[in-house]
Symmetry: C2
Subunit: 413 residues, 2 copies
C-alpha cells in the first residue's frame, strides 16, 4: 500500500484529475454540434458548452488581454483569440461530474464570469457540471423533496457565529412526532459547509434514495470543519505541506495526533473542530431537531480532510458514533499501529455497525483497497465495507457516489 500517495491525495480537496486520459493532448479538440450549455452556467450565458463526447468549450470576451488560459483538472490550456477579441478553448473529453475550474487572465487566476461560483481551493471557484449518461442519482427528480436549512448558532469554542446546513427528509414536517437518525457530513480542505449541498447535491441523492426505499429518512448536518483558508496563501500543491513525512496512516487515527504534522490544515477552526462537533454541534442538533440521540443512530462521514476528521474523531469516539464513512480520506488505520481500535477486532466489530472506506479509482486502485480490506478480514475485522468509484479521481463525483453507496448501509434498524 502506497501510504504516502494516500496521504497526499487525502489532503487535496480540489478536483485534481478531471480528464479521461492520463496525459491529455494539447487542446485542439473540436466541439461537437450537439453541445449544450453547462447547467452550472449563470442564466443567459451560452458558454461553457459540453458535447456528447464531453469536450467542453470555454469562451471569454477579452480584447485587451495578452494571454488567457483555462485551469482545470491540474492542467492549463491556452485560449485562442478571434478577431472580435473573444477567446475560446476546447478541452479533451472531461470526466463526468463536477469540476472546479478557473480562468487565468494575464497571469491572474480568476473565476469565469459565465459560471456559478463554488467555494473550493479556499476561494470562490468556477465549476462545470459534466453530464453522466445513465447516471442520474444526484439529479432533482419527481419525488418528494427534503429541505436544506441554513441554521445559525453561536459557538463558544470558536467565539463566533457559525452556520450549518441541515438536510431534513421529505416527511420531516408532515410527520411531526417522528424522530430521525443523523449523519454529520464533512467537506474537504479549502471548502466549507456549503460543499455537500451545492457541489455534492446530497439533498437530491437522499431524496432519490428515500423515494426508492433504499435509504431510511435521515437528517444530515453539514458544518464547517475548518481548513477553509488552507490554500489561501498561494500554496497550490498541498503535497508541499507534507514536508516529506511518510508516517503510516494508522498513527493518525488516535485523536488529533497529526495536528502538528499537518500544520495549517488543522490549526485554527479545524483544530477546534473535534470539540466544536462533540460538545456544541451534536448537543445543539439533538436539542433542536427530532433526532434519535444515540450512537447507533449517529454517523460521521466526510471527504478528503473530512474523511481524515472522520477517522480522527470517529474512531476515537465510538461512544458517540456507530457508523463511519471515510471518502478519499484514508482508511481505518493499520492493524499493528499503537492504540489502534483495530487491535481488538471483537470490540471493533461490536461497536462499529458500518465502517465504510472509499476512493476514486484514479486516486487509488481497487486492488489496493481490496487487499487492505482482506487484511482486516484475516485479522477478524468483519464490518468494513469498501467502494471504488470507477474512472474518477479526488473529486466530487467520487464523493457523490460514495455517499450514495454509504447512505443505504446505515441506520437499517
Amino acid at each position: 500500500m502506497k501510504i504516502k500517495t494516500i496521504f497526499v491525495l487525502a489532503l487535496m480537496a480540489g478536483s485534481l484529475v478531471a480528464f479521461a486520459q492520463t496525459n491529455p493532448p494539447a487542446a485542439a479538440d473540436q466541439l461537437g454540434s450537439d453541445a449544450k450549455s453547462a447547467c452550472s452556467n449563470v442564466p443567459g450565458q451560452q458558454y461553457p458548452k459540453i458535447d456528447s463526447e464531453r469536450h467542453a468549450e470555454f469562451r471569454l470576451r477579452a480584447p485587451g488581454a495578452v494571454r488567457v488560459q483555462l485551469d482545470i483538472g491540474g492542467h492549463k490550456y491556452d485560449f485562442i483569440k478571434n478577431n472580435q477579441g473573444v477567446w475560446s478553448v476546447v478541452t479533451p473529453p472531461l470526466v463526468v461530474g463536477f469540476h472546479y475550474y478557473a480562468i487565468v487572465v494575464d497571469g491572474v487566476t480568476v473565476a469565469d464570469p459565465a459560471s456559478e461560483s463554488f467555494f473550493g481551493v479556499s476561494k470562490m471557484m468556477s465549476g462545470i457540471e459534466v453530464p453522466s449518461p445513465g447516471e442520474d442519482f444526484y439529479d432533482a427528480k419527481d419525488v418528494p423533496h427534503g429541505e436544506v436549512r441554513e441554521h445559525w448558532y453561536y459557538s463558544l469554542t470558536n467565539s463566533a457565529w457559525r452556520r450549518c446546513f441541515v438536510y431534513t427528509p421529505p416527511d420531516y414536517d408532515s410527520n411531526p412526532t417522528a424522530r430521525y437518525p443523523v449523519v454529520y457530513l464533512q467537506h474537504g480542505a479549502g471548502e466549507d459547509e456549503r460543499g455537500w449541498s451545492t457541489q455534492g447535491r446530497v439533498n437530491f441523492i437522499l431524496d432519490n434514495l428515500i423515494a426508492e426505499g433504499r435509504a431510511r429518512p435521515m437528517v444530515v448536518v453539514m458544518d464547517n470543519g475548518g481548513g477553509s483558508a488552507f490554500f489561501a496563501t498561494g500554496v497550490r500543491n498541498p503535497a508541499g505541506l507534507m514536508g516529506g513525512t511518510n508516517a503510516p496512516a494508522g498513527t493518525n487515527s488516535s485523536a488529533m495526533a497529526g495536528t502538528n504534522r499537518f500544520g495549517r490544515l488543522f490549526s485554527g477552526p479545524a483544530g477546534r473542530f473535534p470539540d466544536t462537533l462533540l460538545h456544541e454541534i451534536i448537543p445543539m442538533i439533538d436539542a433542536t431537531y427530532r433526532t434519535i440521540p444515540d450512537r447507533e443512530h449517529r454517523a460521521l462521514a466526510g471527504l478528503s480532510m473530512g474523511g481524515m476528521q472522520t477517522r480522527m474523531i470517529g474512531l476515537t469516539h465510538l461512544d458517540a458514533f456507530a457508523n463511519l464513512g471515510i471518502f478519499s480520506g484514508g482508511t481505518l488505520g493499520e492493524l499493528n499501529a499503537t492504540n489502534s481500535p483495530l487491535a481488538n477486532p471483537a470490540e471493533f466489530n461490536r461497536l462499529l455497525k458500518v465502517a465504510f472506506v472509499s476512493y476514486g479509482s484514479v486516486e487509488r486502485g481497487a486492488d489496493s483497497l481490496k487487499s487492505y480490506h482482506d487484511s482486516l478480514v484475516a485479522a477478524g475485522i468483519t464490518n468494513m465495507t469498501y467502494y471504488i468509484s470507477p474512472g474518477t479521481a479526488h473529486e466530487w463525483q467520487s464523493w457523490r457516489r460514495s455517499f450514495h453507496e454509504f447512505a443505504p448501509l446505515i441506520f437499517r434498524n
Copy 2:
C-alpha cells in the same frame, strides 16, 4: 415628480452610487491604521480592508497584468503596482452597507478572488460589507434565530425545477400548532432568490425585530422573479432599455401591461412570474408551511424590479394581498391613471392594510416622496406609508432598512 428618473432607477438592480460624495476624487486616499479586513472576504484573505472613515483598500497579486482597475459604485479606479507585482488601490469613503464590486484585469471584468461572491448584475460579483457604526439591526445577535430553508419544487408554468428560500421564525418548530403570516419578498433584476438572505440579511433583520417584540413572527418566501439574465449580454446601463419612453408609472399598474416596453426584463421567467407566484408558489407554500392563508396575512414586497412586480401583481390582486412593500420600485401609481386602484380611495383604504413605498435619499429626495404621499392624502388615500433611507442610493442598505421599516407595520393583528 420626475417619472422618468423613477423608472430608470427602478430598473437598476446594482449598487450604482456607493460613495458619500457625488463626485468622488481620484483615488489617492490613505487607508487609516485602524483598518480591518472586510467580513465579506473569504477566509484567509486580509484585503479588502476598511478603516473607520470607510476608506477601503483592495489588493491583487498580478505581476503580469498591464492595467488593473476597481469597478465599484459606478466608478472605476486604477490600481497601482508595487515592485512585487501586487496592485493596490484605496477608495474615497464608501457609503455604509453592502456594495457589489468587480476587478478589471486588462479590460476583463471579473470577481475579486479575495471576496465571497454574490449573484448580482446577472453574474457572480464580489461584494464588500462596509460597517455602519451604531446600525446593527441586520447583524447576527444573541437572540433566537429562525432558519432559511432551501425548498425545491417543480413548476409546471416554467417546466423546470425551481427553488425558493423560506425563512421560518425562531419558534416555528417548537410551536408546532402555530400558524404564521407570509411575506413574498422579491429581488431585483440581475439578482435571484439568494439576494434577500445573503446580501439582504433578512433573516437576521427579522430575528432581531421578533426578539424586540417589534415584528410578529412571520414566514418569508424568497423565490426567483426572473430577470436574472437582464445584464447578461453586456448591457450595463439599463436606462438604454427604456427607449425614451416616458409613460407615467400608473399606466403599468394593471397586470403586466409593461411587458413589451421593458423588453427582456419581463420576458422569459419574469414574464411568467405573476402566474408562477399566484398559481404555483402561494398554493404550494400554503400547503407546505403552517401559514394563515388569507389576504390579510399575506404581503408582497420587493426591491427595484421586485418592487415593480409588487405593484404590477399586488395592486391588481388585492384579493390575494392586503400588504404591499415597494422598495426603490416606483409608487402606488398616479391618481389620474386609467384603471388605477387609486381611483376609488374608499375601496383602496379598505382593501390595503399597508401600502409602503420607499427609496434611498440619493436616488429620490424625501420631498418628492412626501409630496406624492400628500397628494394621495388630499385625494382621500390614507393608508400609504413612505420611508427614505438617509444617505443611500439604489443599493442593499436602502432595502435592508426598507424591510426593517416595513416588517413592523404588517400583520399587527
